[in-house]
């Protein structure tokens, strides 16, 4: 009924780019961001629209660039540890873990078992935080603000547990090369259980109000489909790939920390639209809740949490290079670390999953999307700009 005849324009130039003449009056250039409520964090998308339909979209990043990879070349291995978590704000712990694991691997450090359990616990807690933020954002992008209120409320409960454990709400700086900073406090498991129950009951409400909502389904089912062929060519990982039916999860494929000892099944979807991605994340969140319960039940009660470190002021690591990855809430998070035998890293490269999702993939997906869906589409890829530009 509302189809537009797009056979005439935009036409392609000989070099493959679109021939868009803005003064022809057929097109409108729209900037969403960096100051725009529909953008996740501080980035911008430049849209060229024809009617309600997006003809071309470009992602602009770099508003959050602090030059971490350069700054880390100036810092000793231990000095790097407090700044790495700042690379990704909503889920900082993966930076700490990946950095610590990379350093340990190159330095040949053995991490005590207890520390590995606590690390796993923290990573799963961070995953819950991140997913809760995502659910609120996804509903909010479609105008359902109340979900964001509920999920942020229970996220605060989880932040309380973080605070109890690490002393901080956002930047925990808890996982450092060699182990973790401390043991769990007295009675932590009991208070955690209470928070988990609250999260589960809130998720029940979310399922009713969001996932069974006719309008929400109407806006999301069949919108923003990732085709199976894109998964490899655009480097899609994590829930975005799992919602497309690619059952890949670093936690299963290359188990790290104590994941081999935990009992879990991968969460996958098949429709690969916005709804499927949201649903995969919701079920993955419930999986994390279950994992935390398992961890707290199975973890040893006593034990060292810190390996014996050399003098960190003069800590030199022999020449080598490695890549360490983990499965964060957005996909594969990895650190590529190169050392040259000095007391400073030679090169650190952070591979955030948002890097491919929000640039190459998003620019591909936004073509022919409706302007109204752009915000929901971007949120559904679950991208965090700081890990793109670092």
């Amino acid at each position: 009924m509302f189809e537009l005849d797009r056979s005439q324009y935009p036409q392609k130039k000989p070099d493959g780019t679109l021939d868009i003449d803005l003064s022809s009056g057929k097109y409108l250039k729209l900037w969403q961001g960096p100051q725009h409520p529909g953008i996740t964090g501080n980035m911008a998308i430049e849209l060229t629209v024809c009617g309600d339909e997006v003809v071309e979209g470009k992602t602009h990043v770099g508003y959050l660039h602090r030059g971490f990879e350069k700054l880390m070349e100036r810092r000793t291995f231990m000095q790097c540890f407090p700044i790495v978590c700042r690379i990704c704000v909503p889920e900082p712990d993966f930076n700490e873990y990946c950095y610590a694991a990379a350093v340990e691997e190159l330095a040949g450090l053995e991490v005590p078992e207890m520390a590995n359990w606590i690390r796993t616990l923290i990573l799963e807690m961070g995953r819950i935080n991140s997913y809760l933020m995502y659910l609120g954002g996804q509903a909010g992008a479609l105008g359902l603000g109340v979900i964001g209120q509920w999920t942020t409320y229970v996220r605060d409960l989880m932040l309380d547990r973080f605070e109890e454990l690490t002393g901080a709400r956002i930047y925990h700086m808890f996982i450092l090369p060699g182990g973790v900073r401390d043991r769990l406090p007295e009675g932590f498991a009991g208070r955690m259980e209470k928070a988990l129950q609250e999260i589960e009951s809130t998720l029940g409400d979310v399922e009713k109000v969001m996932f069974h909502n006719a309008v929400f389904k109407k806006r999301t089912v069949g919108v923003g489909v990732i085709e199976a062929g894109w998964v490899d060519s655009y480097g899609i990982t994590g829930p975005n790939a799992r919602a497309a039916g690619v059952a890949k999860d670093v936690r299963k494929d290359q188990p790290y920390l104590v994941y081999p000892e935990l009992d879990f099944e991968l969460v996958t979807g098949k429709d690969s639209d916005i709804y499927a991605r949201a649903d995969v994340r919701r079920r993955d969140l419930l999986l994390s809740v279950d994992l935390i319960r398992q961890i707290l039940a199975k973890m040893p009660k006593t034990g060292e949490v810190m390996a014996k470190l050399p003098n960190v002021l003069h800590w030199k690591i022999p020449r080598g290079e490695t890549y360490v990855r983990g499965e964060c809430s957005r996909g594969e998070y990895g650190y590529y670390l190169v050392t040259d035998g000095s007391g400073y890293p030679r090169r650190v490269n952070v591979r955030g999953p948002s890097y491919t999702h929000s640039i190459a993939l998003f620019e591909r997906m936004v073509i022919n999307a409706n302007i109204s869906d752009v915000a929901a589409l971007l949120v559904s890829l679950h991208t965090y700009p700081p890990e793109i530009e670092r």
Binding site: G143, G145, V146, Q149, V209, R219, S372, A376
Partner: protein, 306 residues
């Protein structure tokens, strides 16, 4: 002509202004209340009930403002006159000389016009502001408004046919004498169509794609600020109440006193508030489809059945 002027009861003017004042304050409290309800559903405490007054003073108190041209000025003026005009030409309290305002024999037609008037004025102002999001917002607003207006107009025709009059006062008079005489019960299809249209015109989810902060930062008023915005805030308090007064008169038996009016307006307002809290928003073409598929047939049915 002169006789008409002589006959005109000049005291109606201050009384009409008093109506506007009362409705304005009631509207302010109602908007705050709606926000509070939305907050409570989100387990929040919400804004203080008087917050909107402070915001209004603040917006008038801003020291700078910029303009984009004449229509930019006139946009909020048109919008406000749409709200005030609607209120002034419908009888607010049935049977009261003081609060019948300037209602006359054909006021139903005028009311239909005034409901649309504000959006048109806004379209002119928003277009002048030059912001692309304003333009997108107002295009969405006009198309959705047109679609939502259709069932309402049909419902109004049905009601006018039913009571054989174009005077709102007469329509209210015909509904007196018990709840069962309300149009709600005598012509339920018309009321259903009109209430669907009502949801669409209240700018609350699922039909708030016009404002849609996550897509087009608040749409038409993107460029409006300071006293322009304050005027639009005033209208936003006034206009829904005025509109509900029309609905109440046409379909819910009108009100014979202020407390009854407050109660009925409150209940009708709450319909949109509660629907809005738990729904995301439709895309503009989805909402137009919704009106065309669900509300318009009901309206036609109402006209046919009368």
């Amino acid at each position: 002509m002169m006789e008409a002027l002589v006959e005109f009861n000049w005291m109606r003017i201050p009384w009409a202004l008093l109506t506007v004042f009362i409705v304005f304050n009631y509207g302010f409290l109602m908007t705050a209340l709606i926000q509070k309800i939305a907050a409570r559903v989100g387990r929040r405490h919400g804004i203080p009930i008087w917050q909107n007054y402070i915001d209004l003073i603040k917006n008038y108190a801003l020291r700078t403002s910029i303009t984009h041209g004449v229509m930019f000025y006139l946009g909020p003026v048109f919008r406000l006159s749409g709200g005030v005009g609607l209120l002034l030409f419908v009888p607010t309290i049935y049977g009261s000389d003081m609060f019948s305002n300037f209602s006359f024999a054909g006021d139903l037609i005028l009311a239909l016009y005034f409901v649309f008037f504000g959006t048109l004025g806004m379209a002119l102002g928003a277009a002048e502001s030059g912001h692309p999001y304003s333009a997108i917002g107002i295009t969405r607003g006009l198309s959705q408004m047109t679609a939502a207006e259709l069932p309402f107009a049909l419902a109004v025709f049905a009601v006018a046919l039913q009571y054989q009059t174009l005077s709102i006062t007469d329509i209210v008079a015909a509904q007196q004498g018990g709840v069962l005489n309300w149009t709600l019960f005598t012509n339920p299809f018309a009321v259903a169509a009109a209430m669907m249209s009502f949801l669409g015109s209240m700018m609350r989810p699922p039909f708030d794609v016009v404002l849609a902060p996550q897509e087009i930062p608040i749409g038409p008023p993107t460029e409006y600020h300071s006293s322009f915005l304050a005027m639009m805030q005033t209208n936003r308090a006034l206009f829904p109440i005025a509109k509900i007064v029309v609905y109440m008169n046409l379909f819910f038996g009108g009100a014979a006193s202020w407390p009854v009016l407050f109660l009925k307006v409150f209940l009708i307002y709450m319909v949109s508030a509660f629907v809005g809290v738990v729904f995301p928003r439709f895309r503009v073409e989805q909402s137009i489809r919704w009106f065309l598929i669900w509300a318009v047939p009901l309206g036609i049915l109402a006209v046919v059945l009368v």
